[in-house]
């Protein structure tokens, strides 16, 4: 598409907005992630509780650890979800993630091979989908979880169109 001076690329920054309209993902993502976390942890929790009742009361300590893990997981999820932001720039899609380990991925539209929209039963229930970008390198793609379904579809269509227009050979 149009030519790309350095002018058209706003400052992409790891922390500050830097002149870009960063879009957050749906806060409901925190809910679904918490539910998944609870489902994973409920199995050892129940097992430990049963063991504590039937076998040895010291297993309550294990249960306490699991509960503490759950609390910590909730805290991490609550911190992580707002940290996921993304922006559509003229030439590339930029995704920021993470609080402790921060990453920023910038995927040029011309490099997109294809775009997936995935949505499991739980996230569909909450009206969300994940958009996954695939380039020629498995490590270079990015994904945006927790987009509202319509927005995800719209984003995929836009990305496909832009990818087609700016397609570059390998």
């Amino acid at each position: 598409m149009g030519d790309s001076g350095a002018v058209s690329t706003p400052d992409v920054t790891l922390f500050s907005p830097g002149g870009i309209a960063w879009q957050p993902v749906s806060p409901r993502l925190a809910t679904t992630r918490s539910i998944v976390l609870a489902c994973v942890l409920v199995v050892p929790a129940v097992a430990l509780a049963l063991l504590a009742i039937l076998v040895w009361s010291w297993f309550w300590v294990g249960l306490a650890v699991v509960v503490a893990l759950f609390g910590w997981g909730l805290w991490v999820v609550r911190r992580q979800v707002p940290a996921i932001t993304w922006a559509e720039l003229p030439e590339e899609l930029v995704i920021r993630k993470g609080r402790a380990f921060r990453t920023l991925v910038s995927v040029p539209y011309g490099r997109l091979q294809y775009v997936d929209v995935q949505s499991g039963p739980l996230s569909r229930r909450f009206g969300m989908a994940e958009v996954e970008l695939h380039t020629a390198s498995p490590e270079s793609g990015g994904s945006i979880p927790g987009l509202p379904l319509q927005e995800a579809e719209a984003l995929r269509t836009r990305l496909a169109a832009r990818g087609e227009a700016q397609r570059a050979g390998l």
Binding site: D3, S4, G5, A6, S8, T9, P10, D11, V12, T13, L14, F15, G18, E91, E92, A100, F101, R102, T103, L104, V105, S106, V107, P108, G110, R111, T135, A136, S137, P138, E139, S140, G141, G142, Q166, R167, A168, G169, L170
Partner: protein
């Protein structure tokens, strides 16, 4: 999927062809040899063993009968396997059908062909046959093997495929980028282009290069220790030192087997790589498929001044070993730079020299922040990147020197990463993501502002380079 043998009708551009009749036997070569060897050894036992323990216990006729039936069965299965393996160079793709019961139909479009190799395993070399391996873009299992064809036929098929792949590659979709200055050859009509030898690695140097490594220092101590332990029958040493020695020596022996007799030729717009001690392999790597290059010098090679050059080739990622990704197993700096110049021309000499041996800023290099000293006490001065008109040059490693070159037009995506410790010291690392392969370019521990500036500028540079492409 399986229209069966009815699809054998000739088409406008290609007939279904059979592989060489000996191929099934060669493919099952080792097993076949083992059976024959076993039979022969049994005979030897019978003849020279005094007949004391005849394994057939007198039922010789039965044994011969069983052997005959087995032989017939092998021949029959081989024949069926041969009869139902056919390939075709069609109008747009190469197709291979195999199998009677479990049918398989593989196809690869010409514009997806990344490289066409010819391999000659030992058995095939004895019988004058070759295997044509067609590598395509895609996952691990996306190659087609035509095993086996007669040597000359294999050459023909390879030339034909290379030509077809090259031609469909020149369609608008995948034009080689203009970012590559003309290398003095026209990319089209590559067929009659002369073949020019570029590098040949003497096997003596290769052996030396293996000796000049930390592992060999270990082996120099361990092997005599092992021998002494065996001679003096020291208990227990063999049990742990033996496997350790085998484990450390094994990869080097394997490297020697695959990378010996190395030579690199330049023809038209591709590089021809030949190597292998027992199994000769020749690979053609189209230059415009090369995505990134890396020069590396392990610590012990600094004395003789040797370098190793590896590249990322689109579609060859993660395949079996270094076939397409190794362009120079061990070479002098001049040789390495000559090959690099073929792969990625136009790197200014002073930048190349600074990348190879220099440290600190200068010659266009931006180095890691001084605050990275804590993480990187040895190499923080050397770690850095430089930008040339065509590529990013990343330099790193205090003990093992590494220089990576990624053309602007080939950057797949950019990534900034920052761990908690880096964050406390205001650092971040920038990855220049390329296609899968041995080269993973990363400018580590830059100042955060510097990293963000690099990301923005590199995104713009790569975008411009892609559009010129």
């Amino acid at each position: 999927m399986s229209e069966g043998p009815g699809a054998e009708a000739p088409t406008d551009s290609g007939l279904w062809q059979h592989l060489h009749p000996l191929s099934p036997l060669l493919r099952g070569g080792v097993a076949f040899l083992a059976v024959v060897g076993y039979a022969v050894s049994q005979q030897f036992d019978r003849i020279f063993g005094g007949g004391g323990d005849d394994p057939t216990r007198g039922h010789r006729l039965l044994a011969v009968g069983i052997a005959g039936v087995l032989l017939l069965a092998i021949v029959a299965v081989s024949w069926v396997s041969w009869r139902f393996s056919r390939f075709r160079v069609g109008p747009a793709m190469l197709e291979l059908r195999t199998g009677l019961l479990f049918r398989q139909h593989r196809q690869v479009h010409f514009d997806r062909i990344q490289a066409v190799d010819i391999a000659r395993p030992v058995l095939a070399r004895l019988t004058g046959l070759s295997e044509v391996v067609v590598q395509s873009a895609g996952g691990h299992d996306s190659s087609i093997k035509l095993a086996f064809l007669g040597d000359r036929r294999a050459q023909q098929v390879r030339e034909q495929l290379m030509e077809l792949a090259g031609r469909s590659d020149e369609l608008p979709a995948g034009v080689p980028p203009a970012a590559e200055p003309p290398t003095g050859v026209t990319p089209h009509l590559a067929a009659p282009a002369p073949t020019r030898p570029v590098v040949r690695v003497p096997n003596a140097r290769f052996v030396q290069s293996i000796l000049y490594s930390g592992v060999s220092a270990f082996l120099v101590l361990a092997v005599p220790a092992l021998v002494v332990a065996i001679v003096l029958q020291v208990p227990g040493v063999l049990a742990w030192l033996g496997p350790l020695v085998l484990g450390t020596a094994g990869p080097h022996v394997k490297r020697f087997m695959t990378e010996a007799n190395f030579s690199l030729h330049h023809r038209g717009d591709s590089l021809l790589v030949r190597h292998g001690l027992t199994e000769l392999r020749s690979t053609t790597v189209p230059i415009h498929r090369i995505q990134a290059a890396e020069l590396a010098q392990p610590l012990f090679w600094r004395l003789p001044g040797w370098w190793r050059l590896r590249v990322n080739v689109a579609g060859a990622g993660g395949g079996d070993g270094p076939t397409e990704t190794l362009l120079l197993p061990v070479g002098t700096l001049a040789e390495a730079l000559a090959v690099l110049e073929l792969v990625r021309p136009g790197i200014p000499t002073e930048v190349a020299m600074a990348a190879v041996a220099g440290q600190g800023p200068g010659h266009g290099f931006t180095t890691a922040s001084q605050r990275a000293r804590l993480f990187d006490p040895l190499s923080w001065r050397r770690r850095g990147y430089a930008v040339t008109p065509d590529c990013v040059v990343v330099r790193g490693g205090a003990l093992k020197h590494v220089v990576q070159v990624v053309p602007h037009a080939r950057v797949q995506s950019l990534r900034i990463e920052q761990g908690p410790l880096q964050r406390r010291r205001g650092l971040a690392s920038v990855h220049f993501v390329s296609t899968p392969g041995p080269v993973k370019a990363r400018a580590s521990h830059l100042d955060v502002a510097e990293a963000e500036r690099l990301l923005g500028e590199q995104a713009a540079r790569s975008g411009r380079a892609r559009q010129r492409a």
